[in-house]
């Protein structure tokens, strides 16, 4: 058997394609759900970390540091295999989304915090002097300016979340990687794995390109 028919076996690839695509769908579902939950959680954590009473700030800081330190794979396995011992039994999908969200929220929080802290103090003072509430100051004045700063690192974080969805295959989630390994076993040929790798590339390469463009644009802007 030559190299080509081993790694790029067309019949095998076509045969496994439906399976890979259904895996892709699962991967995208896990990724997008985790990204959205992570963004919401991260924004909440960032604002608490900056403006909540000191005790809460310390707690949030602890959370952020812990979830940025723990390996995602370990967290995922804890969520899926250990939590059932205390009666918390999450489906593979929710285990994956929970683990990814917890970590993504921690990273996102730091990104938002840096963005908010980058806004000149005068913007807060002008808002306060006008009588704007804290909420309006954030929503109308600070966040719209911070968004420009945080978009490149946030997009970068989204890429990481998307990549990390592959870990869900260890909790029996039929995501792209899991489907590929199963198809490989079935056909006794590694082509489905190559196919999966290519699909990941097609999915993420454009995002990597977008981040590079955004970084260039916003670093030129100010």
């Amino acid at each position: 058997m030559d190299l080509f028919s081993t790694f790029f076996n067309m019949p095998v690839l076509l045969n496994s394609l439906p399976q890979l695509l259904s895996g892709l769908l699962v991967t995208v579902q896990i990724g997008i759900t985790s990204i959205i939950c992570g963004l919401i959680g991260g924004l909440f954590l960032a604002i608490t970390r900056l403006y909540a009473p000191t005790i809460v700030q310390v707690l949030v800081r602890g959370y952020i540091d812990i979830f940025r330190s723990i390996p995602l794979l370990v967290l995922l396995i804890v969520v899926y295999y250990a939590l059932p011992f205390v009666g918390i039994r999450l489906s593979p999908f929710f285990s994956a989304v929970t683990a990814l969200t917890l970590v993504s929220a921690a990273y996102t929080a730091e990104i938002f915090r840096a963005g908010i802290e980058a806004i000149p103090h005068g913007q807060f003072e002008a808002s306060a002097a006008l009588g704007l509430s804290n909420r309006h100051t954030m929503v109308d004045v600070i966040l719209p300016q911070a968004i420009r700063i945080v978009i490149p690192p946030l997009t970068n974080n989204c890429i990481n979340v998307m990549k990390d969805t592959a870990l869900a295959s260890v909790v029996a989630m039929p995501d792209l990687l899991k489907q590929a390994t199963q198809a490989q076993a079935l056909s006794a040929n590694p082509t489905p794995l190559i196919g999966a790798a290519l699909i990941y590339l097609i999915l993420l390469w454009p995002m990597v390109y977008v981040v590079a463009r955004l970084e260039k644009r916003y670093s030129r802007g100010r």
């Binding site: 913007q123 002008a126 002097a129 006008l130 009588g131 704007l132 509430s133 309006h136 109308d140 300016q145």
Partner: protein, 245 residues
Amino acid sequence: MSAQINIHNLKKSYGEFQVLHGIDLEIVQGEVVCVIGPSGSGKSTLIRCINRLEAFDDESEIAVDGIAVVPGRALAAVRAEVGMVFQSFNLFPHMTVLRNVMLAPMRVRHSTTKDAEARARVLLDRVGISEQADKYPENLSGGQQQRVAIARALAMEPKVLLFDEPTSALDPEMVGEVLDVMKKLAGTGVTMVIVTHEMGFARQVADRVIFMDGGNVIEAGPPAEIFDNPREERTRSFLHAVLDH
């Protein structure tokens, strides 16, 4: 008539360093007060305490229109009545000039978009910026930005306007246009407290000039008195230094 701004025993420290040493000051409605004094004498700190951008000692008391300037709900009420114009303009860079002026009335006074816009256009016209309403702040000159900042403060229909060196960041040729707008404001009934190094302006528009040094009010009185006939040696030497060049 009781004073509109009542400052009693105002003390303020940064850590060990005391910046204001128990200032007492009463300002009546419609009065134009100019605060002068050397750098670091506490002029900015004084006016920033009036709307509590700076916290001050618990024993100190400030009231605006009878409302105590303390943290909490009352502070929002005070800030809605007290406008402020900063040395560095602090316009919102992501909003057009028009939006800058409309924002606070809509959010704080719950004006409709239509009312807020109509009023903003009137104010921009008053400060001579009506042509630039749809531009972004970065596309305006410093003098124009500062006039927008004044319009933004006026949009809240404040009873008190605080100015912290409003012309110090401007190129010399733009100082006049901002001072002209302020001159027009004086005498309209709004109380103005102005920290400034523009002695000519202070002499012309102030009802009262306050000279500060080292965190104390050294001397206060009508401009003619302070500028032509200061009682205190410190006032004299300060004026000598600034008016001499």
